[in-house]
């Protein structure tokens, strides 16, 4: 069978796909920001001396790391409103699910970074009278940060791919726009292939950038 390619539906609707890509990036950026904040809180919670704090933080981290993101998307969109009485827009539900889910992964990166700082640094900070918050902000995090950058980038990269699941909640990101176009134009092959190429282009450039940063960091720490 000879397939006749027809990319006209793609070019005619390229604006729609670009709009989807912009929404993908919007959701990614928002969730990475919120996820980092949640991750830092969870990491500090897990390291807290009080068990009433560390056990719930650990439970949240382990639960979200070991369950599929798609379940969380559905839980936040269809389940949570029943509990709270507040219904979320597809964007809000997707952003909430993604932020908490990747927050759990970010938390482990933060925790790994924090405990990798030499104990003497903690003791010295305390000796000159710093409080825990000051110690964390001025001494520990700046030192741990460099080590955390590569895994944080890695997780953020995974997050961008996971945003595609927001299509199942009808949020108009790239995959959702493609699904709508595919049913309108009957050209699934051309449209989905174009979408794959669009994702690949963005993500490949990002991964090249990540490699460059990792290289720089490795050189810096070798010095």
């Amino acid at each position: 069978m000879q397939y006749v390619w027809d990319f006209r539906p793609v070019w005619l609707n390229f604006g729609v796909l670009l709009e989807g890509l912009v929404n993908t990036l919007k959701l990614s950026g928002f969730s990475i920001g919120l996820g980092l904040a949640i991750g830092l809180v969870l990491a500090i919670g897990r390291l807290a001396p009080s068990r009433f704090v560390s056990i719930p933080a650990t439970a949240i981290i382990e639960f979200y790391r070991n369950t599929p993101p798609l379940v969380h998307f559905f839980w936040y969109f269809y389940g949570l409103p029943i509990l709270t009485g507040i219904s979320l827009t597809p964007f809000a539900a997707a952003a909430a699910a993604l932020s908490v889910q990747s927050g759990a992964f970010f938390a482990e990166v933060f925790r790994g970074g924090i405990i990798s700082v030499d104990r003497g640094q903690w003791e010295a900070g305390r000796a000159i009278g710093m409080g825990p918050a000051q110690l964390m902000r001025r001494i520990i995090l700046p030192q741990a940060f460099r080590r955390m950058i590569p895994p944080l980038m890695e997780r953020s990269f995974e997050l961008v791919k996971t945003t595609s699941l927001a299509a199942t909640l009808t949020y108009g990101e790239l995959v959702y726009k493609a699904m709508v176009l595919a049913t309108q134009t009957y050209r699934p092959m051309e449209i989905y292939s174009t979408v794959a190429v669009m994702f690949f282009t963005v993500l490949f450039i990002v991964s090249l950038g990540m490699r460059a940063v990792e290289h720089r960091l490795a050189r810096l720490s070798a010095r």
Binding site: Y3, F63, F74, I82, A167, S193, F199
Partner: protein, 225 residues
């Protein structure tokens, strides 16, 4: 208004466990097919990637980059909705999902194999060649047995990722656990309970994998390998 006095109705969900169990069976089948296939296929891709010859190297590298730099949802949709238009072959939803997950996981496994095989000291390869082993013998008798234990934590983590990814098959109508959950939630009008129960099922299924990876890593570190 916050409806904190919401009374959970887990009874109705638990009465439908047979439905969820049927879905679970398909989830496990998807996982088993994709993972066993990917472990083996990943080795061959990594060999092609490590090859000094340009063509196999280029093909393997392209393959790995494509699958790692696109969302798995797009891959599954592509195999199910796009490929039939081109090839005239309409795979079933299950076949498309198994194929997509298998090819995706193969790309990641190939990178694990590559790192594992590279970690062997060069002397091992030279020693094997010196006593007249063929490349295939060398791989099977010398390289893989030594490298495998070092790669085990990474493979286990990949398995965990794959187990989570199987839920995406529901979007192309594979009737696995997540799909049955969606059905159940619309039938019972109890999405909160349904997705909570299903999240717990996935957790019980997947968490032992993560614990195993931790334990394997610890053992490896204490051996100083």
């Amino acid at each position: 208004m916050i409806a904190m006095n919401y009374s959970f109705q887990f009874g109705e969900i638990l009465a439908n466990t047979d439905l969820l169990l049927r879905g679970l069976k398909l989830t496990i089948l998807l996982f088993a097919i994709a993972f066993s296939g990917a472990l083996l296929c990943g080795l061959f891709i990594s060999l092609a990637r490590a090859s000094a010859r340009r063509v196999p190297n280029l093909i393997a590298t392209t393959y790995i980059e494509i699958f790692r730099n696109t969302p798995v949802l797009v891959q599954l949709i592509w195999f199910y909705y796009a490929l039939p238009a081109l090839s005239g072959w309409q795979p079933s939803a299950f076949t498309a999902a198994a194929l997509g997950l298998f090819l995706n996981t193969s790309a990641y496994c190939a990178e694990i194999w590559r790192a594992g095989l590279q970690s062997l000291p060069a002397g091992q390869w030279e020693g094997g060649r010196a006593i007249g082993m063929s490349e295939w013998q060398l791989l099977r008798r010398v390289a893989v047995p030594q490298a495998f234990s070092r790669m085990l934590p990474a493979f286990t983590n990949r398995g965990v990722e794959l187990a989570k990814m199987t839920s995406i098959a529901s979007t192309i109508t594979v009737q696995e656990l997540m799909y049955e959950a969606k059905m159940l939630s619309t039938q019972t009008f109890l999405p909160l309970e349904t997705f909570t129960v299903v999240a717990v099922i996935y957790f019980v299924l997947i968490y032992p994998g993560t614990l195993a990876a931790y334990a394997l890593e610890r053992r490896l570190n204490s051996k100083g390998a």
